[in-house]
């Protein structure tokens, strides 16, 4: 059920507002931070609660706003953990229990994309959200998302070799 209104003033209303997107928030945090995603999504909840009055339904959906908060916190989390060497690229993107053929290749090469490309690829492919909503999360135009995706795919083709076109 999509919730489009304001976050609500009290915690119960806020929880109800967040609940439909809670899984997506965790998925994005896990995608961008690996195991450290739990901390990132909790920081995002704190930030979302503090900033809830800044949500503007005219500028995007609740999901895009919440995912933008998660992306911001994930960026900060990665920067913090890299500074203290608590995170490596091996922590990010690996899918436990998946078959090795495609996933290993992709988890390796996805690390070589730019941070913006990884965010856009994560949102569009791994969270399966639309280009328009991806643009709201990233804070850019639809055209920029499309070109970022195109650049990312082109880069992946080079990195993956001739088997991929």
């Amino acid at each position: 059920v999509a919730v489009t209104g304001a976050p609500g003033a009290d915690s119960a209303e806020f929880a109800a507002w967040v609940r439909p997107y809670w899984t997506d928030m965790q998925l994005l945090a896990r995608r961008l931070c690996g195991p450290a995603g739990e901390d990132a999504v909790q920081e995002a909840m704190a930030a979302a609660w503090r900033k809830r009055e800044q949500f503007d339904p005219g500028r995007g959906t609740p999901r895009s706003w919440l995912l933008a908060v998660v992306a911001d916190q994930a960026h900060k989390q990665r920067r913090r953990l890299r500074a203290t060497a608590q995170i490596t690229d091996e922590d990010v993107g690996a899918a436990p229990g998946t078959e090795p053929d495609v996933s290993i290749d992709l988890s390796l090469v996805l690390r070589q994309l730019t941070e913006r490309q990884r965010l856009v690829v994560s949102l569009f492919y791994y969270l399966d959200i639309s280009v328009a909503e991806t643009a709201q999360v990233v804070g850019c135009s639809v055209g920029t998302v499309k070109s970022t995706l195109s650049d990312a795919r082109r880069r992946l083709r080079v990195l993956l070799g001739e088997e991929y076109r």
Partner: protein, 196 residues
């Protein structure tokens, strides 16, 4: 294979695998966040780091978990003092239960000089973030009704607390981490963190 197809295939498998692993409970997380909504992680870590040396020795935070099987009739009223085995100045939270069979008991007020940093309740194996509320004292775990509570910290192992009888004190081996509470024998737990 087309890169677009490869990404979609990988994403499908990743989502399926991840959704089984997602463990954070929204209500518990929100409750934790609301317990210290203005405390940034950076400041929190600084507080934790500065307090870490003092924490274990000084005491002051009580973490009380109360195990209750809501399906079974409960005693009419219970009053329990906090653990006293691990601190020279043990906290004295009061745990009381009402006689209403369908409700969890209500944890009492914090000991004198302390405040409630966090209250939460939940069910088995929920993940609960302790980092915002702790860092200012030795942590005690107590529960009523017996049984074991497992505390697990991803990447840092965990420990069991035997709550047979009244209460057992235990200090968490690390602060500032996400803690997974696994109530092994019960169906519900209720938890409170008291501190200065």
């Amino acid at each position: 294979m087309d890169v677009d197809d490869a990404l979609r295939m990988d994403a499908d498998r990743w989502r399926a695998a991840q959704k089984l692993e997602l463990e954070l409970d929204l209500d518990s997380t929100l409750e934790t966040v609301l317990a210290a909504p203005h405390r940034s992680r950076r400041r929190g870590l600084a507080v934790v780091a500065a307090a870490a040396a003092v924490v274990v020795a000084s005491g002051g935070v009580a973490l009380v978990a109360n195990r209750v099987d809501t399906r079974a009739p409960r005693p009419a009223a219970t009053k329990v003092s906090a653990p006293t085995t691990h601190s020279t100045t043990p906290p004295t939270p009061v745990v009381s239960s009402s006689s209403a069979p369908a409700r969890l008991p209500t944890l009492g007020p914090p000991p004198p000089g302390q405040q409630t940093l966090l209250r939460s309740s939940g069910h088995d194996n929920q993940t609960w973030n302790i980092k915002r509320a702790t860092g200012r004292g030795e942590i005690y775990v107590a529960c009523l009704g017996g049984g074991m509570i497992k505390f697990e910290m991803p990447g840092h192992g965990g420990f069991d607390v035997d709550c047979t009888g009244i209460a057992t004190g235990a200090s968490l081996p690390s602060l500032g981490r996400t803690v997974r509470i696994r109530q092994v024998t019960g169906q519900h737990w209720q938890i409170a963190v008291f501190g200065r």
